[in-house]
């Protein structure tokens, strides 16, 4: 079972959530070229490791939130509310709170 740490509801089964996908930076609407928009639409890092993404708690509090997940082990390291995309592998304190999933799930991922 994959546990997703919702910032409101705590760790819940993944079946309650919708995976929105990797967080990507939106180009500036004033100056972006069609090619930049298409990169924004189609290109993802798709790493085998830690990644920052957006999740939606469909069958819960219905919040959109950010989370950091390891795509090989499916462990979550932290999650936070708000649209700010934090840098990868920062600390929970830098995020201004949020749920530290590793403490809820036992040992942290690699």
């Amino acid at each position: 079972m994959i546990l997703v740490p919702c910032p409101h509801c705590g760790p819940r089964n993944v079946s309650e959530f919708r995976h929105i996908g990797e967080s990507t930076a939106r180009p500036d609407p004033g100056s972006a070229t069609p090619e930049q928009w298409r990169d924004y639409l189609y290109l993802r890092r798709n790493p085998a490791g830690w990644t920052i993404e957006t999740w939606y708690h469909r069958a819960g509090c219905r919040a959109y939130f950010g989370a950091e997940r390891h795509t090989v082990t499916n462990r979550f390291r932290r999650s936070w509310l708000g649209g700010q995309v934090p840098p990868l592998a920062g600390t929970v304190a830098e995020m201004g709170g949020g749920v530290d999933a590793s403490s809820a799930e036992g040992s942290p991922g690699p």
């Binding site: 994959i2 996908g21 990169d39 290109l43 795509t71 090989v72 082990t73 499916n74």
Partner: protein, 429 residues
């Protein structure tokens, strides 16, 4: 002496041709079964290095040798051949697609599969038992009519049939009208069927090996060396291989390989789960697919029912199964065939799918000279193995992508000309 034709463990010897006579002769003694492909030392250079020992990589190598006489080729595989998607798919073959280009492309693959046993001198157990795609609402019935007409124009045996005909083909199907998703009709495609997927991998490996291709298992690509914008070597955990051509056939791991040369692919990796039941006597003829119920089911020659569904709804490189999948699958299968409620699921597994935004593959050249891709095959890569291998071999041999894959180029994403093949996946995404 008859035994001279076998492959020896050190890689010497000549390929042996399988025949009834050969089977009887070796069967009597059981001492001298030939190796299907050899092991080789890693050479310092090859004309081409194919990364990924699945059906796409091995078919590319086989057709390079068989059709173009290019034999100084290595297939490198980080695990064992056929251990990825080629050994994890549900082995369904069909060509009843929606667009004329899609229909022609996959029908070429089906035609190659039809003669593959003879071409490879290896029984791939292709069983053309028919393929039924069920319609549970007017919308899907209309799309199926459309698909059937496109198929027929392209000369494919494909027709929309009603509940009575479905009942005649699959007596165990619940075609009553008081179910949650009543069956209104189906797209029936008699040439479709299932195949022994491992045998396809092994047959291509044996054929490629006989043609002179080196197959290196347990050989992982760790980097690609470039000079300017040109590939010069493939770096593996067993050493450096000088080569002007590296072909990426790594499916779910495609973006990790492309990252090595800084090529970005519009691909995300999703797991796709499948399951089999205990074996029972043959009762299910055709392959049965329901897009609405997200399920496809077929009965293997061993008698097991093989089930598949849609991809897991999140990206991941994990191949662990989940209880949600089994629960949902069982519920949907029992909607169609309530009588199999007592069957037990033997095992479940997952493979990794490289999903593109338009559910079409990415094939051909990249901005890096010599770095070719045959990726983005998502949930429909196995059935396209032969045609993809044939086309990639032609691209490598001639330097020019053949017409049937020209539209699948990587440049279609920055240039905004996506391919809309909505018939690509049997169940919705």
């Amino acid at each position: 002496m008859l035994l001279l034709d076998r492959y020896r463990r050190d890689g010497s010897g000549r390929p042996s041709r399988y025949s009834a006579f050969d089977l009887v002769r070796r069967g009597l003694g059981h001492t001298d079964w030939p190796r299907a492909w050899r092991e080789h030392a890693l050479a310092a250079s090859y004309d081409a290095v194919i990364v990924g020992g699945g059906v796409h990589g091995l078919a590319t190598a086989y057709y390079l040798a068989a059709n173009h006489g290019i034999t100084d080729v290595a297939v490198i595989e980080k695990g064992y051949i056929g251990g990825g998607g080629s050994g994890r798919n549900t082995a369904i073959i069909r060509s009843n697609y929606l667009t004329p280009e899609g229909v022609r492309f996959y029908d070429r693959s089906l035609k190659l599969y039809e003669t593959l046993s003879a071409d490879l001198n290896f029984n791939v157990m292709f069983s053309q038992r028919g393929h039924l795609t069920l319609a549970h609402n007017d919308g899907s019935l209309r799309t199926m009519r459309w698909r059937a007409e496109v198929n027929k124009l392209e000369g494919i045996d494909s027709e929309v049939i009603g509940p009575d005909d479905i009942k005649a083909l699959v007596p165990f199907m619940d075609v009553s009208t008081d179910t949650r998703y009543p069956i209104l009709g189906a797209l029936y495609h008699p040439p479709g069927g299932i195949i022994r997927h491992d045998a396809v991998v092994w047959g291509y490996a044996r054929g490629a090996d006989a043609g002179g291709v080196h197959i290196h298992q347990n050989t992982e690509l760790v980097g690609i060396e470039t000079e300017g914008d040109k590939v010069v070597a493939a770096l593996t955990n067993r050493g450096r291989i000088a080569t002007p051509v590296v072909v990426n056939c790594t499916a779910g791991w495609a973006t990790l390989v492309a990252d090595m040369v800084g090529v970005r692919l519009p691909i995300v990796t999703h797991p796709l789960q499948a399951a089999v039941t205990e074996p029972v006597k043959p009762f299910l003829g055709p392959v049965v697919v329901s897009g609405t119920l997200h399920v496809y089911v077929s009965q293997t020659d061993r008698g097991e029912l093989v089930f598949g569904a849609s991809t897991d709804p999140y990206t991941s490189y994990s191949t662990r199964g989940s209880l949600e999948f089994t629960e949902e699958l069982a519920g949907h299968v029992l909607e169609l065939m309530p009588s199999i409620a007592q069957l037990r699921v033997l095992r479940q597994w997952a493979g990794l799918c490289d999903i593109t935004p338009d559910f079409s593959p990415v094939m051909g050249v990249t901005p890096v000279d010599g770095f070719l891709v045959d990726v983005g095959w998502g949930t429909y890569g196995f059935k396209a193995g032969p045609v993809a291998g044939e086309a990639m071999a032609e691209l490598i041999a001639t330097g020019k992508p053949p017409e049937n894959i020209a539209g699948f180029d990587l440049a279609r994403f920055p240039e905004g000309r996506l391919v809309g093949e909505k018939g690509a996946a049997a169940v919705g995404h």
